[in-house]
Each structure stands twice: as structure tokens, then as C-alpha cells.
């Protein structure tokens, strides 16, 4: 279970893996918020839930990250803990997520850089190792 950042000239690549695909997604959530703030400083005292759908695991990953980016603005919050469930039915993937975090505080959370969007650029899914890769546009 881990995430790491990859080289990209202007933006930030992320690579996330886990024992299960759900764990890899959970790591992706952490990587996303680590780009924006110091996630160690987030207290998981509030929660939000959401559901997204896509026709492939790769696209589901982009959908999931983009929804977290939108919720960051709408709820004015940042998140550090994620519980992900993925259901596959009729070649469609549905993801349910419960994210925990708190209201964003520029000083407390040591803000870094805003992520504009998760992209399809370099988007990869290695089924064997449960590894997902994408580039975040910052």
C-alpha cells in the first residue's frame, strides 16, 4: 500500500498501489491531498460520502479524483482517510467512497498547490499489481 510522485515537466504524476484495487484508490486519495496540503495535519473529524461511475477502472480513477477535487471546493474541506468500495456490474464500475477530513485551514494544513484536475494523461492500470498512474494538472 503506497503512493509516489512521478516526474512531469509542468505537473505532478502519481502512482498508487495496494493489496486490492480499492486500497490503490484509497492511496490515490491520499496522494491527491498530499499534493495540495500536508495530510498529516488533517484531523479526520468530518466525513463526506459520494458515488461515481465509469466504464473502466482507469476512468473510474479519474472520476474519483475529480470528485474529490470538486468536494474540496464545495465543502471547503481537505481529506486524509478514504474508504472505497468498487462494484462491477454489466461492464460498469460503481465506486462508493467515504472520505474523512476537516475544514481547510491555510496555515494549519500548510497549503501547497491547488490541483485543477486529474487527467487521462499517462493514465494506466496494472491489474496484476493493483497499480494506478495518472497526472494531476496543477
Amino acid at each position: 500500500m503506497s503512493y509516489k510522485f512521478l516526474e512531469h515537466t509542468a505537473d505532478v504524476g502519481i502512482e498508487c498501489s495496494g493489496e486490492t484495487i480499492e486500497e490503490a484508490f484509497e492511496e490515490g486519495g491520499k496522494a491527491l491531498f498530499e499534493v495540495m496540503v500536508d495530510i498529516q495535519a488533517i484531523q479526520p473529524i468530518e466525513m463526506t460520502t459520494f458515488t461515481v461511475e465509469a466504464d473502466s477502472i482507469e476512468n473510474l480513477f479519474v472520476e474519483y479524483l475529480n470528485r474529490l477535487i470538486a468536494l474540496k471546493d464545495i465543502n471547503e474541506s481537505v481529506y486524509s482517510e478514504f474508504e472505497v468500495e468498487i462494484i462491477e456490474k454489466d461492464e460498469k464500475f460503481t465506486l462508493n467512497c467515504l472520505a474523512r477530513g476537516e475544514m481547510l485551514n491555510q496555515e494549519k494544513h500548510n497549503i501547497k498547490i491547488e490541483v485543477k484536475s486529474a487527467t487521462y494523461y499517462g493514465l494506466k492500470y496494472n491489474k496484476g499489481t493493483n497499480t494506478l498512474t495518472t497526472v494531476l494538472d496543477v
Binding site: 509542468a10 505532478v12 471547503e76 491555510q106 499517462g122
Partner: protein
């Protein structure tokens, strides 16, 4: 596929038309810029800008060439610095040709002061006041909080909407590209999520490479044009670099999916997942275009509100009259627009995508404010933090060769990752302070990632264009105070 460009003229390189390319790729650069790009290809880098120039050249309806400005670096689908003009009847519209930060751009204001008027004490006071008054950085909120119907109105009216609300002066609009409002915006084609994200973000600077700078005119290259622009040596200016914030980002995200489906529907081959597109005249293409126009207007409104906050700050500190701070001009550099250009000797309407490229119209164009029309449009090029910026003027040659487009900045060469390894925020601040520049940032890591050394030398980038007449150098600016998100 041979991606290695061949030199075809001074500062001009070509990827010759081959395989499925519909037009050649033309890259403006010097030897150093081009060799960096070639190295990426030879190193087998998956993310390389020349491949992106090639890919854009294969899109249906592309006219003349897939162009790249000298600040070229890898983007999504289109490279940054990429320009692609399409036949509106046969051609496509692409999300990647606009980018996620729709109408990100720069607006420059002239101040009624010269650098020598600003004492050290006042400079510190001004830096602190701007840092306090300009909402910036992740999670910042604007002073103007809107509801859905107000956002809808803003998306249709652009900067005019906020001027009517008291955030600015009528004459500000005259000196903004498109008078601060493009036609054809349809708020109903912008998602609820996009609007919700923007309720509190109107008039915020954002983060990353966005900034607000107090600058000094340090060199005048063309006295005549500088006079027309109202600029002289020693004068102080303010430049505001920001875009359409969360609303624009969400429009990009939403339509990437919609146009992916459209590309399949209309059998347009997708060479890179970000390079999805739809025929411009299709229902999907028109829908995206109307959403882009809404995003463009949102960015105009953002820079207008920030202009107002600058005026308030000066009034508070120095009792400056708001009308004495004038808008020199405002440009966007992530757009697609219908414009008239000469194609095969005839004036035709074409759809010009500029992704990290600035419109720089030459003399005589009616889109340019009357005051500047005889000399060409002011083109504002921001340098990296702590380095020079430029104000150029558009030229006739630029109109013919690049659809009236020039670069938008210096262009990154080092990744954020490398920046963190190589630089420390304290050292950067010390180095800039030693040059007399006060930098105030909301994020120390952000400062490191935007270190001047991670960008190309903006002077060289500008010279690539100016030396071959694609733009005219008018003045050089140096930073005095820099506020970063």
C-alpha cells in the same frame, strides 16, 4: 514517425508533413529550445511536446500548420504554447486546445507612480497590504459570494457583470480583450458542480504559477508604441495573472468526457486520451464552445474583481483615486475563438485554439481598442517569479504566420519534483530580496516549485519571436513586489 524538426528559417523549425499528418508542425525556437525538445524524444519520454505537435497536425480541419511558440513544453493533448486553427465547417473543437484553466491570462494596470516615488517603507507596506487584500492560495475565498442565478448572469456578461456590481470602472472593459465579455456563453451548458465550486472563488488569484506583481518599466525598446500604450521608463505597473478558477477546471473535466463520447460517435481517431474532440458544427461541439465562452467570461470577471481590490488597496494606503489606476490591457492565453484570418488569399472565419499562447493582433484589426489600433495589440508576457516580463505589440507578420498568436510566458523546463530537490524557499527569498524584490507567498512549497530557475530564460523566448518580427518588443518590466498563491 520522424519527430525531429528540421530548421527551415531563422528561429523556425518544421516537422515535415508525413504519414497521417494533414499539415506540417512548425515550432518557433532557438537551438537550445529545440535541442531540449529533441532530447525528450531521444530519451523516449512518453510525455513529449513534439509528439503533441504531431498529434494536433492530424486533427480534422486543421489549417496551415500545427504551431508551437518558443515557450513550448508538454501539456495535455496540445503542448503548452500550442496553436491550432481549424476550418469551422470541416474542423473540430478540442478540450485539450483550451486547457483546464479556461482564459487564464494577464491583465496589466498602470499606476500613477514611478519607481522612485515608492520608498522602501511604502514598498513593504504595499506588499503587506496586497498580500492581505488579494485572496490567494488553496482554499481562499473571494469577497463577492454569488448564488446560482448570479453566477449564470456573470457567465453571460463577464467582466461587465462585476463592473455593474461596483467592482471597477466602465472604461476598464474597453481595454480588455473582447471588452471583457465573449458572446455565445450558455450557462445551461455549464454543470451544477462547476457553478457550485465557483460561488466563493470569484476574485481569487489561485495558486501555482498565478501571481500579482508590482512591476517597473526598466527598458523601453520602442518609444513610439510605448507612448501610445501610455508607458515610460521608471513607471510602475501591476500585472494580475489568473484564470477561471474552479469553474473553468470543472468545465474542462466535464467536457473531456462528453467529447470522448463524441469522438467515438463521429469516428475521429483519438491519439491521446486528452486529445478528444468533436466536429465544431456538431451539437456536442457547439455545446462545449458555449461552455468555453462561459468559462472565458468567468476569467474576465475574476481579473476585474482583482483589479478593484488593487484599487481599494491603493486608496487605503496612498489615497490614490481609483480612476488614476488604469487598465492598460488584458489578454487571455487558454482560449478558442472564432476569428477572421487570411487563408489562401481570402479572409475567412476560423476557429483558433490557443493553449498557453496569447492573441497578439497586428495593426488595423478592429478587435484592438481604437487607442492602440494603429500600432497593434498590447501583448503581455509574464516571466517567471523574480524575472523580467514584457509588453509586446502584435505585428502584420504574426497575423500571416501564426494567426496573430505569440507565446504566453517563459515555459517550464524543470519539474516540480526537481525544484523541490534543488531549491529551498529561504534561499529563493534571500536571492530575490537581494535584487530588491519582495516576494510574499501563501505556500512555501509553491515558491520552491516556481523558482525562477525552473523556467526557460524569458528574454530568450521573447527574442525568438521579436528577432523574426512575429511580435515587437515595446517595454521590459522588472518585478518589485510579487504576491503568489
Amino acid at each position: 514517425m520522424d519527430l525531429i524538426p528540421k530548421k527551415i528559417g531563422k528561429n523556425m523549425y518544421e516537422i515535415p508533413k508525413q504519414d497521417d499528418m494533414l499539415v506540417p508542425g512548425i515550432i518557433y525556437g532557438n537551438e537550445e529550445i529545440i535541442s531540449t525538445l529533441i532530447k525528450d524524444v531521444k530519451d523516449g519520454k512518453e510525455w513529449n511536446a513534439l509528439k503533441q505537435v504531431y498529434n494536433v497536425s492530424t486533427l480534422p480541419g486543421i489549417l496551415k500548420a500545427s504551431l508551437a511558440m518558443p515557450d513550448i513544453h508538454p501539456g495535455y493533448g496540445f503542448c503548452i504554447g500550442g496553436v491550432g486553427a481549424f476550418d469551422p465547417e470541416e474542423g473540430v473543437i478540442s478540450v485539450a486546445g483550451v486547457g483546464f484553466d479556461i482564459n487564464c491570462g494577464v491583465r496589466t494596470l498602470t499606476l500613477p507612480y514611478k519607481a522612485e516615488d515608492l520608498t522602501e517603507e511604502n514598498k513593504v507596506k504595499l506588499a503587506e497590504a496586497l498580500y492581505k487584500n488579494i485572496p490567494a492560495g488553496l482554499g481562499s475565498k473571494g469577497k463577492l459570494e454569488l448564488n446560482e442565478s448570479e453566477i449564470d448572469e456573470l457567465l453571460v456578461k463577464g467582466a461587465k457583470y462585476v463592473v455593474e456590481k461596483g467592482y471597477g470602472l466602465k472604461e476598464d472593459l474597453e481595454y480588455t480583450e473582447e471588452n471583457g465579455c465573449v458572446k455565445g456563453a450558455k450557462p445551461e451548458n455549464v454543470s451544477q458542480l462547476a457553478k457550485q465550486r465557483q460561488y466563493k472563488q470569484v476574485g481569487t488569484l489561485g495558486s501555482g504559477n498565478h501571481y500579482l506583481e508590482v512591476q517597473e518599466v526598466t527598458e523601453v525598446y520602442d518609444e513610439k508604441i510605448a507612448k501610445v500604450f501610455g508607458l515610460e521608463k521608471g513607471q510602475l505597473l501591476i500585472s494580475i495573472h489568473c484564470g477561471s478558477r474552479a469553474l473553468g477546471h470543472q468545465i474542462g473535466t466535464d467536457y473531456l468526457k462528453e467529447l470522448e463520447a463524441a469522438a467515438k460517435k463521429y469516428n475521429i481517431p483519438v491519439r491521446e486520451k486528452e486529445l478528444v474532440c468533436a466536429p465544431f458544427k456538431s451539437e456536442e461541439g457547439q455545446k462545449y464552445f458555449s461552455a468555453v465562452n462561459a468559462g472565458i467570461n468567468c476569467a474576465f470577471a475574476n481579473r476585474q474583481v482583482l483589479t478593484h481590490l488593487v484599487r481599494e488597496t491603493f486608496t487605503e494606503l496612498f489615497k490614490t483615486k481609483p480612476e488614476d489606476i488604469k487598465v492598460l490591457y488584458g489578454v487571455g492565453h487558454n482560449t478558442c475563438k472564432l476569428e477572421k484570418h487570411e487563408i489562401d488569399g481570402e479572409q475567412k472565419e476560423v476557429l483558433v485554439h490557443r493553449k498557453g499562447a496569447t492573441r497578439g493582433f497586428g495593426p488595423g484589426r478592429e478587435e484592438v481598442p481604437k487607442k492602440y489600433r494603429a500600432v497593434g495589440q498590447p501583448v503581455i508576457i509574464g516571466g517567471s517569479m523574480g524575472t523580467e516580463s514584457y509588453i509586446l505589440a502584435g505585428t502584420e507578420k504574426g497575423m500571416k504566420e501564426t494567426f496573430g498568436s505569440v507565446c504566453h510566458g517563459a515555459g517550464r523546463v524543470k519539474s516540480r519534483f526537481q525544484a523541490k530537490k534543488e531549491f529551498k524557499s529561504e534561499t529563493i527569498l534571500e536571492q530575490l530580496n537581494a535584487k530588491g524584490i519582495i516576494v510574499k507567498g501563501h505556500s512555501m512549497q509553491g515558491l520552491v516549485e516556481e523558482a525562477p530557475q525552473v523556467y526557460k530564460d524569458v528574454n530568450e523566448v521573447i527574442n525568438v519571436l521579436a528577432d523574426i518580427g512575429l511580435a515587437k518588443k515595446v517595454v521590459q518590466l522588472k518585478p518589485v513586489i510579487c504576491i503568489k498563491g
